[in-house]
């Protein structure tokens, strides 16, 4: 699995311009050969400017809340998400399960109208019922396909989720831990940026640069200018 940097210049320059604080992971579509191409931009969570808000409204982008950390969100292009959803549904079809029409209902009714990151059980059922009779089995299918996740805090709310990103999320959290332990093991808990960037993380498929920007943005690491260059240090307190 290798990483391909893929993003239009407009969106990238915009995201860097309006500083954002949380890691955004942008997902272009999965190809048939199972390569997941990921573009990572570690910037502040940007809902502040009209650009993002209007892109959300026009349904070009979709924002998801990730389970890896408190403020981690993922932004994905809508068409990529629909392709991802389609490939996950295809797997279900192969196993010849019943009640597969719920995926169609989900796509037409829920995706179009609900632009939030979460949805209540009541609202989900009422939106899905536009397609037909909704039973608990339908909701179970949606959860097992990976499109919805139950919230731990509130039993009646669901988060929207991206199917088949488990390995990436695992890589994300393990890569963070690995980078932090790498710096914590050193005597002075710091390292110059240039050799640090060249290192490869064992447990994460994501780039070292991504993890660095992620941890600097969330405040776990800080970078300082020194006469010898930029140094990355573990932030205490």
């Amino acid at each position: 699995m290798h990483i391909i940097f893929f993003l239009s210049h407009v969106l990238l320059s915009f995201l860097i311009l309006y500083k954002v604080s949380v890691v955004l992971v942008l997902f272009p579509p999965t190809c048939d050969s199972q390569q997941v191409a990921i573009h990572i931009v570690a910037t502040q969570y940007v809902n502040r400017t009209g650009f993002m808000g209007s892109l959300k409204k026009e349904k070009v982008l979709r924002v998801f809340k990730l389970s890896t950390g408190q403020d981690d969100h993922a932004i994905m292009f809508m068409e990529d998400y629909l392709k991802q959803m389609a490939s996950s549904v295809k797997r279900f079809e192969k196993e010849k399960q019943h009640d597969l029409e719920v995926f169609e209902w989900f796509k037409t009714y829920v995706m179009e109208s609900k632009l939030d990151v979460c949805i209540a059980h009541q609202e989900l059922c009422s939106l899905l019922s536009h397609g037909g009779e909704v039973t608990d089995r339908h909701v179970t299918l949606l959860i097992s396909a990976g499109l919805l996740t139950r919230q731990l805090i509130d039993p009646n709310m669901y988060w929207f989720a991206i199917p088949n990103i488990g390995s990436i999320l695992k890589g994300l959290s393990q890569g963070r831990k690995e980078l932090l332990s790498l710096l914590n093991r050193r005597k002075y808990k710091e390292m110059p940026l240039a050799p640090l960037e060249k290192k490869r993380l064992r447990l994460s498929p994501l780039d070292m640069r991504f993890h660095l920007r992620d941890l600097i943005g969330s405040g776990h690491l800080k970078s300082l200018q020194t006469p010898a260059g930029i140094i990355v240090r573990v932030a205490k307190d």
Binding site: G53, Q70, S113, A120, L127, H130, G219
Partner: protein, 457 residues
């Protein structure tokens, strides 16, 4: 500085900009004061600090050993070596006092009208009102649980209610005039840790609970009218026009949405007289995606039900502070996040305050100033200052040895007072002296003369 005063005389500099410039210059030079010290008589962690609102002269502190003390911060009691002014307490009330608190005092506030009364709330379930001159308890209210916070409205003219939050889920309002509880506000699912009266209306109270919710209550009506939801956000300071367009385009108009996660009535309802408010509620809503309420229970259109589980923080809400213009609310949570809310729209302004760690078990006292765009937050053993709009860390004040619980910023003198678990109250003042060196010469004359011989070629 004198050049700027001259500019103000000639009219090239506006008076207000002179004030702002001087103030921001002094604020940028804030550090541990080497001129002033407060001698703390407490034998326990200092939990609460407040300077009185009428004169800005007396500092009231409440500590974990059940003691409360008052200091005069403008006049010193004695000088230590002629350089550092020591401010000793004017009096202390502690466990030895026959009506004193038996356990820790979690909050001590001045009566907002004058310094004749002060109110203390403690873990021994009591809220006591003290007469400052007689140092006697005038009134005593017994609460059902440990008292975590008390608040009185500084702009109230029609009532003198003490809002108290305790480990019990209900917020009680105690009346000093009658000595009884006038209101019981239910809606929170867990204890209430922080309370704040609105700075624009004497009837609006904002409470933050251990369940992570921030509720707005209008005490003239039953129930809360707003619950802040962290996922409802707006773009910075002003909501753009596009948010006003109803979301009916996306949902077929025949769909009736079920329980929604937020219900809010517009602010215009607050300004109208109480009688007319209810009629105009349904017509003048800003966000149209809410119907009359959940299908299981008929809800009054102006009220948020207790089923509304929207949270403002992922943990307990440990501190609340409203800006003096009544437009923004700053809240801190045990999830180590600081959030700035626009009160009028009830939205999260998504200002990202740089990484901080906040203590989770106790309520902390924040300080927020909208005109200087400053926020002071006690973060573990230091106090951090942030810019309110960009969220950048402007400075960290490290001086305490243990967790800092409270901070109070005196805008008049630009001095910051902080109290922590190490039983000390530290003063942070601008290192630029307000008075010029010439005026202090006669006081320091003796020490200077001793140094005069210490010269060498």
């Amino acid at each position: 500085m004198w050049k700027e005063v001259r500019d103000r005389e000639t009219g090239t500099l506006l008076p207000l900009s002179l004030v702002r410039r001087l103030r921001s210059r002094r604020l940028a030079a804030l550090q541990l004061s080497n001129r002033k010290e407060i001698v703390s008589p407490h034998h326990g962690a200092v939990n609460s600090l407040q300077v009185d609102l009428t004169e800005g002269r007396y500092l009231l502190s409440g500590a974990s050993d059940g003691s409360a003390a008052v200091y005069d911060i403008q006049h010193t009691t004695d000088y230590d070596g002629g350089l550092i002014a020591k401010h000793k307490n004017l009096f202390v009330v502690d466990k030895q006092h026959n009506h004193g608190h038996k356990f820790a005092i979690s909050t001590a506030i001045w009566y907002p009208i004058d310094t004749g009364l002060f109110i203390t709330g403690s873990f021994d379930h009591h809220v006591k009102v003290w007469d400052t001159n007689m140092i006697q308890v005038v009134m005593d209210f017994k609460m059902p649980g440990k008292v975590y916070g008390t608040a009185m409205s500084s702009i109230a003219t029609a009532h003198m209610l003490i809002a108290t939050g305790s480990a019990d889920v209900q917020v009680r309002l105690c009346d000093i005039a009658s000595g009884a509880f006038t209101h019981t506000l239910s809606g929170h699912r867990d204890g209430v840790m922080s309370l704040e009266w609105s700075t624009s209306s004497e009837w609006i109270l904002m409470t933050g609970g251990c369940d992570g919710a921030i509720r707005f209550w209008d005490i003239r009506r039953a129930g809360c009218f707003c619950v802040l939801d962290q996922s409802r956000s707006q773009l910075g300071r002003r909501p753009p026009f596009s948010q006003g367009t109803p979301k009916r385009d996306f949902i077929a108009s025949t769909v009736s949405t079920g329980k929604s996660s937020f219900e809010k009535t517009p602010v215009s309802q607050k300004r109208m007289p109480v009688g007319n408010g209810k009629k105009q509620l349904t017509t003048s809503r800003k966000n149209q995606n809410v119907s009359g309420g959940p299908s299981t229970q008929r809800l009054h259109p102006g009220m948020s039900s207790s089923h509304n589980r929207a949270t403002a923080h992922y943990g307990a809400v440990t501190g609340l502070r409203a800006t003096s213009d009544g437009m923004y609310l700053l809240s801190s949570g045990s999830d180590s996040r600081l959030r700035l809310w626009d009160i009028e729209s009830g939205c999260n302004t998504l200002v990202n305050f740089e990484a901080m760690r906040l203590q989770t078990s106790k309520a902390i006292q924040l300080a927020a100033f909208q005109d200087s765009s400053l926020v002071f937050v006690p973060s573990m053993a230091s106090v951090k200052a942030y810019d309110m709009w960009s969220g950048t860390n402007l400075g960290t004040f490290r001086g305490h040895y243990e967790l800092v619980n409270c901070c109070y910023f005196n805008l008049q003198d630009q001095e910051l007072y902080t109290g922590s678990n190490d039983r000390q109250i530290l003063v942070w003042s601008p290192s630029i002296p307000a008075v010029t060196v010439m005026e202090e010469d006669d006081k320091k004359g003796q020490t200077l003369s001793t140094d005069r011989d210490n010269w060498s070629d």
